[in-house]
Subunit: 421 residues, 2 copies
């Protein structure tokens, strides 16, 4: 009997440089936080997971990690029970608010996720198979990702411009797309909107359409628009957008927009847990759900979500926050197993440059990541890099992501409003 | 890298004695048919599966089996592709008609199922873990089953009465329940109805309620009733039945009955594939879905079904046809992993007596089957028994289950009608 007895669960917060990417909540701080999770077995196997780095979340992840020692990584049900017992009914407010009101269930699923990934990684390593085989086998060898464009400042306040420079108008976004597509070969484009007034963002979409006539385009204003604005703007982009993501808050509002919009509405803000699905689907509020194993509760949960979407004829893509190479590998394995990954997935990978915690990050070629054939996730920790990124964390002073507060340091009158227009 | 290269896929049809159990389609023939599937690897591992034995199905299972040689049992996606390619768009009529009109999709899923189970069995054996661990870990150690009562003749025409004797009225069913519960300790009771006029079956339910005041009761008339009859009969059984299963055909009819019935309606006839779910749930047609890995497409598909049911607040149980010990083991592993197995599962095990193809069949104690800790499914083929049961198959002359034709040999005027009353 193969026992994957967990002898140590190591939790390491890290920080890495992040460009000043703009969104409806504010702007990315100079450092993005993540937490790296390692589950170590007596046989010397190490399973990897990656999750958010905000301090209250990190505290729960640590508490959960301590509860896993002695468990068997083959017994995911026991892992889940242990995490649940360890954190109780903790209900962490989500300051960024991207997945709606907080709840004990959402908190549990976010804390569980890196351990589920790490446990599955261990299971796969034990048989020297890629994680996708533990998940049911890949249906594609390469997983498509999209170019994820952001309005951005040239650099952080007081710092030199970064390699990407400013993007605050249509020309800026087109130039950004050009650079990103030349480098990574992306075959679809997503724009993070909700930053400029809606018509200015539509102008950018129209400019991108002209510059990249063959690339499917998407726009995600993160609920910055009212229903009326959303309907009007959707009308202007008929026949141009592959999908419009979260134009307005809430299922009822999304349903109103969906009723008149020509393109499907995508979401990672109004359908963020299983409990949201029945009402959203019954109202026809969404046509695409963006899965994210970091908050749906792991890889298996996202596969379940994809099956549900397939059953109801709803499309599937994947959501991304700023992340490192463990998450990219996890997304790639998951994406390779989903028959109905109907849209290229999001990733922030280009924004992280060459910084990573793994020795050989998976690379994006022709807009796709090839599923690694090595055991487990197919990536290994770079101990030196992990130490450096942890040192960043210790020194950077940021303990919780707060795009709004950071924006206020430059624009003191900035307020987060959803909808804003 | 652990490779589970399939070097041989062995398909063996078997037959075993079946008592004259009555149902709305007719009566069980003297022999029940099944097909035993073995996937053998180069390392000498054997993965087991069990499926229907009807000749047209068997032919497709054989064709699929041939296509699996050379594949890797870790790659379930490849197994599925191979089965799909091997049988093409074959669309087998289902003479028994228990899962609605036939389709190419349903046919594929039925043919795929034993191979999915056998492949997962191999995966589990490779790491010497129970199948439940490959499915995500057990949430319970023991899976509850219910006493599955049938109206029946004393014996097959021309034969001696069997050990169970006749059950054609309330007293007969109560006696049968008594015997079965004494022997297996079942803590819930299901009655296969649709045999006698509805009020006679209600009388039996009332007699069972009196004799077994603490046992949850269920009645399954297999769509023998009209909507009006169903509503009236459901009313008579308010507060008595745990659930009423498939009183009437079709989602619209079930929805009409559900609208007035006090108890939830269960089904394995109107929700039998993923495509049925959205309409059935939207109409509130069913409150419990009976999963069955033999036609939903395997163990993983049933776990997905359970997740969907949980998301929509619909209960889950498991359906059973006449089966042997491989299927019982598969159901037990699956059932142990489903957080929302809200009702004891069905099984025909008591009707098969001690006949089996495995060396040490799992046993039902206190109405439950304990999940075996051994590798894989936890059961091993008994080669002598397999040979004997195959010999039965060769000699019995039955090549397709046909309860209606068999009933006509005794009652020439019998016709299968759904609804009948």
């Amino acid at each position: 009997m193969t026992i994957l007895s967990i002898v140590e669960a190591v939790v390491t917060p890290v920080a890495f440089p992040d460009p000043p990417l703009l969104n409806s909540a504010g702007v990315h701080q100079p450092w993005a936080l993540r937490t790296i999770v390692e589950l170590r077995t007596g046989d010397g196997l190490i399973g990897l997971g990656e999750t958010y780095g905000d301090a209250p979340h990190l505290a729960l992840v640590r508490r959960a990690a301590d509860a896993l020692v002695g468990l068997d990584a083959f017994d995911l049900a026991a892992v889940r029970r242990a995490v649940s017992l360890a954190i109780g009914y903790a209900d962490l407010p989500d300051r960024h608010g991207l997945i709606g009101p907080s709840s004990a269930t959402k908190t549990l699923l976010k804390v569980l996720s890196p351990f589920e990934v790490a446990a599955i990684d261990l299971q796969a390593r034990a048989v020297e198979r890629p994680v996708c085989d533990v998940l049911g086998g890949r249906v594609r060898e390469r997983v498509p990702f999209s170019a994820y464009l952001f309005y951005k400042w040239a650099g952080h306040p007081g710092a030199e411009p970064d390699e990407w420079g400013a993007a605050l108008d249509p020309d800026g976004l087109v130039a950004q797309a050009d650079t990103m597509i030349k480098k990574y070969g992306f075959r679809s484009i997503k724009v993070k909107g909700g930053v400029l007034p809606p018509d200015a963002e539509v102008d950018a979409i129209l400019a991108l359409r002209q510059a990249f006539p063959e690339h499917p385009l998407r726009l995600d204003p993160n609920c910055a628009w009212s229903v009326a604005t959303s309907r009007r703007v959707a009308e202007r982009m008929s026949g141009i957008l592959e999908y419009l993501e979260d134009p307005t808050p809430g299922i009822p509002g999304m349903a109103e927009v969906a009723a008149s919009a020509q393109m499907p509405l995508a979401t990672n803000m109004c359908v963020v847990e299983f409990a949201d699905i029945p009402e959203a689907f019954a109202r026809g509020a969404v046509g695409v759900v963006l899965a994210d194993h970091h908050y749906w509760g792991g890889l298996r949960a996202c596969a379940d979500l994809a099956r549900i979407c397939h059953t109801w004829g709803v499309g599937v893509s994947m959501h991304s926050n700023s992340h490192l190479g463990i998450s990219l590998a996890a997304m790639t394995h998951l994406g390779s197993t989903l028959p109905n990954l109907t849209y290229a997935a999001d990733t922030h990978t280009p924004w992280q440059g060459c910084v990573d915690v793994v020795t050989a990050p998976l690379s994006i070629v022709d807009g796709e990541v090839t599923v690694p054939d090595g055991p487990g996730l197919g990536v290994e920790l770079d101990r030196d890099a992990l130490a450096r990124l942890h040192e960043n964390y210790v020194r950077c002073g940021i303990r919780e992501r707060d795009d709004t507060a950071y924006m206020r340091t430059v624009h003191p009158d900035f307020v987060k409003r959803r909808p804003r227009w």
